[in-house]
């Protein structure tokens, strides 16, 4: 069967089971948009290519399936660089198709030419510049294979326009060998010696902590984690990337560790004699000052990516495996620590003394952002998916939203990409249309990618957006207040400019505003009744509110600052 390269590309995506592409056409990718008309694949026409990338990420995080984005060459490609970098930092499986100028024009500074494989070399798991139409199926199949196996990540396929227009004899790879990846070996056999050593390490511990990272979600190991935690009775901390991997309502869950983690989670790690890292990478936002991090702890490091071992902290035992396989092995070996009665007594005291708190709600026309999150959560159906941008609102959402299920928290962890919230919520809603999707956003973040609400309205994707509008770049405001002697530099945004209600309405969404507690509950009630169009609520929140607890950047986790309400007078 003879196909054009463009037809082969679309057919290859169909072969991979793709149900939706997020994209925006342009010159170099135009040939591919023609056969798309005849395909069963849904296309979401975004308003900016960054939106396409973040939507694909939200889709991938919510479903576990790879997200697919397609854009044109040059600026189309550079506009999607941020989502690619974001997906790389958070190990999100993504396949990005970029159009490229015709093969013969590459290297001539042709119109809308850019070296996107060069640009994304350091922020993709791998990328391909396709060299012949015959190779299109191989490149697509390899991209999906690479994106979804081993440690997942973004893969880019750059397709010159002339190849999309030329003819090829259709074929599709059916074996891994045909993908021609001699240097890629994602399959690992579980190292029994390492597992035995892990069991021994656990047996020697009396103050263990299960340090649960995003890899636990990537390997769909929540059920295994629950079984292991239930049997052993060990305390669990869930990193920002792992919120939802273990139920917050579970009595062994101490919450999030790190810079804005709970006192109990941070301190339990500091005092632990064993950290069992499950798909976590000892990020600086978790460890604080590395030499002072968990000084008495041995490290049992489980990861599919062996480059993570000994990168930041030397592992006493390293087990290269999926988190699911490793937990199953530890479970069948009945790995168990010593008696933890004294350990739990200390942890319970930390929990009782320093729970997450915030100032009493006021009714002076400004809301407490934490109260808004709690009110939305209380009115939300079980299984509601929450996305966020990056900053104070993200930390509060992670702290105060009760996560019970995996893949209900969509956020930008490693890269810290402002503007991630709205488009990723749209992608999540497309992947799981039966779930309610709330985006907890900040006013700064919302302004970066809000135009995708036009996409959401046009495509019939009814997400709900809660803007915690404190009129500031809130986290920068917090740092300037606390660490720059309250010198406020380029951080004020205004609560009224833009008018978020009018803006939402202009984009075809319902726009609501809430200043008082009563208005807050009423707006949430109204939003929950609307299921056909997107809703945006402008919650006016207190500007001076700070995220606590906090470990200052570069400080030891022992120097955690608790909420002022919890400080001794």
């Amino acid at each position: 069967m003879q196909l054009t390269g463009a037809q082969a590309l679309i057919k290859s995506l169909e072969m991979e089971g793709v149900e939706v592409i997020f994209g925006l056409p342009g010159g170099a990718i135009l040939p591919v948009y023609d056969p798309l008309i005849d395909s069963s694949i849904r296309h979401i026409l975004v308003r900016h290519e960054q939106g396409a990338g973040h939507m694909a990420e939200g889709y991938a995080l919510a479903t576990g399936r790879p997200g697919v984005a397609m854009v044109t060459s040059g600026p189309g490609a550079t506009n999607i660089v941020t989502p690619i970098g974001n997906a790389y930092m958070d190990s999100t499986p993504l396949v990005v198709i970029t159009g490229q100028v015709a093969s013969g024009s590459i290297g001539t500074d042709a119109f809308q030419e850019c070296d996107i494989t060069g640009i994304t070399m350091g922020i993709t798991k791998h990328n391909f510049l396709v060299k012949s139409a015959h190779d299109i199926p191989r490149a697509v199949a390899a991209a999906f294979y690479l994106a979804t196996t081993g440690r997942p990540g973004p893969v880019l396929v750059d397709l010159p326009k002339d190849l999309a227009q030329s003819m090829m004899e259709w074929w599709y790879p059916t074996t891994v060998e045909e993908l021609d990846l001699p240097g890629y070996r994602p399959d690992v056999a579980l190292d029994e010696v390492a597992v035995d050593a892990a069991v021994e390490l656990i047996a020697q511990s009396e103050r263990p902590v299960l340090y649960v990272g995003g890899g636990t979600l990537k390997s769909n190991a929540s059920a295994e984690l629950l079984a292991f935690a239930n049997r052993t009775g060990m305390p669990v901390v869930t990193t920002l990337m792992a919120r939802g991997a273990f139920p917050d309502s579970h009595p062994q869950n101490l919450g999030m560790p790190g810079m804005h983690g709970t006192y109990a989670a941070v301190t339990a790690m500091q005092r632990a004699d064993l950290l069992i890292s499950l798909g976590a990478r000892f990020d600086d936002r978790v460890t604080g000052k590395i030499p002072a991090f968990a000084p008495d702890a041995k490290i049992l490091h489980v990861d599919i990516d062996k480059a993570e071992f000994n990168k930041v902290r030397r592992a006493d035992v390293a087990v290269r495996a999926t988190i699911k396989d490793a937990l199953n092995a530890l479970e069948s070996a009945e790995a168990a620590p010593k008696d933890m009665t004294a350990w739990w007594a200390r942890i319970d005291e930390w929990r009782a003394t320093y729970p997450l708190v915030y100032d009493e709600p006021t009714n002076d026309g400004l809301l407490r952002p934490q109260a808004v999150i709690e009110a939305i959560a209380k009115a939300a159906a079980p299984g509601t998916i929450v996305s966020s941008g990056v900053g104070q609102h993200q930390m509060w959402a992670s702290q105060f939203w009760p996560f019970e299920e995996p893949r209900t928290w969509i956020n930008s962890g490693g890269a810290g990409t402002m503007g991630f919230g709205v488009p990723s919520a749209i992608g999540a809603k497309i992947g799981r249309p039966e779930s309610t999707v709330w985006c907890i956003d900040g006013d700064g973040c919302f302004q970066m990618t809000a135009q995708e609400l036009v996409t959401a309205r046009a495509e019939g994707i009814p997400i709900k957006v809660a803007i915690l509008n404190n009129a500031y770049l809130g986290m920068v405001h917090q740092w300037q207040t606390m660490f720059y002697d309250n010198r406020q530099s380029e951080v004020y945004l205004s609560a009224d400019l833009p008018d978020y209600v009018l803006w939402a309405q202009a984009m075809g969404c319902v726009g609501l505003r809430a200043r008082t507690i009563e208005e807050m509950h009423e707006a949430i009630r109204q939003a929950n009744e609307i299921n056909d169009v997107p809703v945006v609520i402008d919650f006016r929140t207190e500007s001076e509110e700070k995220v606590f607890p906090m470990v200052a950047a570069g400080a030891s986790n022992d120097d955690i600052m608790v909420h002022p309400l919890q400080r001794e007078a």
Binding site: M121, G122, H126, L146, G183, A307, N310, K311
Partner: protein, 180 residues
Amino acid sequence: MNAPEPFLGDVVHTPVRHHILSVLVENKAGVLARVAGLFARRGFNIYSLAVAPAETKARFSRITIVVDAESAPLEQIVEQLDKLVNVVAISDLSPKDALERELLLATIRTDVNSRTPLSDVVANSGAAIVDVDAHSITLMLAGTPGACDALERQLEDFNTVELHRTGRVALPRLGMTASS
């Protein structure tokens, strides 16, 4: 004139904590950029680098990289390299287990007074004269990096027009195996 360095001399100019990575890669466009880019963005230092098609014909190339194991733990360098999809195999040679060789080519301007001492240097160092005209000679040395270093120092007394070194290649000494 100093006595010439023995042909199997130790490494002189490079620090002791260097390691030689022999990296088998797919022979595809951009692979060298991927390897070099990885070193750059992770802050690993390269002392020397040599690339050529490997023994298995056109499909693979071998990159011999001398890395500074002070700039990052060798384990991290190897593991990050191994994650590059185009990297097929890596063997790590410690200097004491390796036979390292490098090629030096130098063109020296000569006159009546310098020809004889230069001939002595060439003879004593094991170098060979590969080109001559009325005013210059070009010499070549294939030897250990230490021998090349020594020759380079001796040539400081002469009028060197150009001097090129290839960067080293290496194989395990017989009876030694590289770790991979």
